[in-house]
């Protein structure tokens, strides 16, 4: 049986890869993907903990997170499309008109 700590380590790694991607990449689509990666790190954590704690709540939580992530991706892509239509780019370095 795989020890719990391995799962936790993997989920923390996934989360950190997602966070680093979010903070360093400059394309809105890639940033969105990084967000999904972070959420998947959380999902893995919850499912592994749920199995080891012998409680079903973590798995339930994961279902909700997957559903919300789908809705979030839909809205995010919609916003990216409107951004592309107005700026012809989805690069975050070009969205710099609001500042001060």
């Amino acid at each position: 049986m795989i020890p719990l700590s391995w799962y936790i380590a993997l989920s923390i790694m996934l989360f950190c890869v997602g966070a680093c991607g979010f903070l360093t990449r400059r394309n809105v689509i890639i940033m969105l993907l990084s967000l999904e990666l972070m959420l998947n790190g959380v999902n893995l954590n919850l499912v592994a903990l749920s199995y080891y704690l012998d409680s079903v709540r973590g798995q339930l939580f994961t279902f909700f997170i997957i559903t919300v992530a789908a809705a979030e991706a839909a809205i995010g892509l919609g916003i990216a499309v409107t951004l592309y239509r107005s700026r012809r780019s989805v690069h975050v370095d070009t969205i710099n008109q609001l500042k001060g």
Partner: protein
């Protein structure tokens, strides 16, 4: 043959207001789709639906629904009242805005309603799952609302910035929640608090990581420095009516989230989060007030002022006591009136293309529209914290709560920064009363706008002149837990 278990329909009684609002949201979008010539009904339907929900919330007895997942306690009632009142006033103001910028009304009002349902769920959440679902249900419609006016110069930029920072904050918060679940074995907030005290988890390093992640996530949501950087851009880029809504209701819901996690879920870790919040509150007040000094754009100035006000509201929360929580709730009620009032005047100034929100545009407002100038004067006095307005009373209770909890240095800082804030609020008043107007055109206001302004004015002055009643109300509701 399998006999289906009888469904006990009485379980849905506590969530009836939320169900009503979801129904209203569906009717709104259907009405817009199938009866396009009946669009003038949309704001009224929104207002009537929210008013019914408000009456139901205020009249409801304390209840626990769905096995502790949904709590209808006094804490929830106060936050729900704030959010419902904000939506009612926003809907009243929207009529004015529709004449300025053509907006998709069906989507606009139904997204407003759905976001409201999310806020009500946050206020009532007794479980981390409900808290997260409420948070996303609140945030997702607002991302869409910010970007709804696609022809706007800055709306899509504001929407992208809001979406990315909001999503990142949610992910951080979620990871913190998953760690909390792993440590305590439950997602029920009251059981988490119990498990922490029974199993002595307060000093555990994983617990501190969970605390830090939840703290950062919550700070993003209520725009506490150094996680406030999205606020000015999003507030400036969004249509003014949505900015007015965003600066009050989601902020109040964010504080509801803050309180549910920290005040109810992690009271045993107060020794850790109290001092951190004290530092963050000072930083927030410093950043908000000092940056607002050099703003020429009124909308952006109000955005920084809302950052600073989040800093004040945190003062009650960091005390970690029931009085502190009641002070924060009282302050949010007063903030609702004064901030919506200031934004309503700003909306009067804004012209059709979205310009007209700089300081120069409010020059000579006293000669153009003396009544509007007088109202703005009251709202700005209240935001500064000058008696006899509500803002003074709210700040007084917050400072008292933080002082009683022993955060003397933070209180001193708060008073100093509050004095600094007088400069940029009173500068607007000087422009209004002591300069000649640049443009001579009169201001047109719809009847809904007048209603909002009168409500805000009554709220600001009423809470200032009869300060005890509001605080007694929040304290009594919070004590009746």
């Amino acid at each position: 043959m399998i006999v289906p278990a009888a469904i006990d329909w009485s379980v849905i009684v506590p969530i009836l207001p939320e169900l009503l609002l979801v129904g209203v949201a569906i009717v709104l979008i259907g009405l817009d789709l199938f009866f396009p010539d009946q669009r003038q009904l949309l704001p009224w339907l929104t207002i009537v639906g929210s008013l019914c929900a408000l009456i139901m919330v205020l009249g409801a007895r304390p209840a626990v629904g769905f096995g502790g997942m949904f709590l209808l306690d006094g804490y929830a009632v106060v936050f729900k009242t704030i959010c419902l009142a904000t939506v009612i006033m926003t809907a009243l103001m929207s009529e004015q805005f529709r004449n300025l910028i053509r907006m998709r009304q069906g989507e606009y009002y139904s997204l407003l309603m759905l976001s409201l349902v999310g806020m009500l769920l946050i206020a009532s959440a007794g479980d981390l799952m409900v808290l997260y679902l409420g948070l996303e249900l609140m945030a997702l419609p607002i991302y869409a609302l910010v970007g709804l006016h696609k022809q706007g110069r800055w709306t899509s930029e504001a929407a992208v910035k809001y979406f990315l920072t909001g999503g990142f904050a949610s992910a951080l918060l979620l990871f913190g929640m998953s760690l909390l679940y792993g440590l305590t074995g439950t997602t029920d907030i009251s059981q988490i608090a119990e498990a922490i005290s029974v199993r002595q988890l307060a000093g555990n390093s994983a617990m501190l990581a969970a605390l830090g992640l939840c703290l950062v996530g919550c700070c993003f949501k209520v725009a506490v420095a150094p996680f406030h950087f999205w606020t000015p851009d999003v507030y400036e880029g969004a249509p003014t009516v949505i900015t007015a809504f965003m600066s009050v209701a989601p902020k109040a819901a964010g504080f509801a989230l803050f309180g549910r996690i920290f005040f109810f879920g992690l009271p045993h870790l107060h020794d850790h989060w109290g001092p951190i919040l004290a530092v963050l509150a000072l930083l927030t007040m410093a950043v908000g007030n000092i940056t607002a000094l050099c703003q020429r754009n009124l909308k952006r100035m109000l955005a920084y002022s809302s950052v600073a006000h989040a800093g004040y509201a945190v003062l009650g929360l960091l005390a970690g006591t029931a009085e502190g929580m009641a002070a924060t709730m009282t302050y949010l009620v007063i903030y609702l009136f004064m901030n919506l009032g200031a934004f309503a005047i700003l909306m009067l100034l804004t012209s059709a293309d979205g310009s007209g929100d700089t300081l120069d545009d409010c020059k000579g407002l006293a000669t153009r529209h003396p009544l509007a100038a007088a109202m703005m004067l009251v709202f700005l006095f209240s935001l500064t914290g000058i008696p006899p307005t509500g803002g003074f009373i709210g700040k007084f209770y917050l400072l008292k709560a933080a002082f009683m909890a022993g955060y003397t240095l933070t209180v001193v800082g708060a008073v100093l920064f509050s004095a600094i804030s007088a400069y940029f609020y009173l500068r607007v008043i000087r422009y209004m009363y002591m300069n000649d107007p640049v443009q001579q055109t009169g201001l047109v206001a719809s009847s809904g706008m007048y209603a909002t302004l009168v409500l805000c004015l009554l709220g600001v002055l009423g809470t200032g002149i009869f300060p005890g009643s509001l605080l007694n109300w929040t304290v009594a509701l919070l004590a009746g837990l």
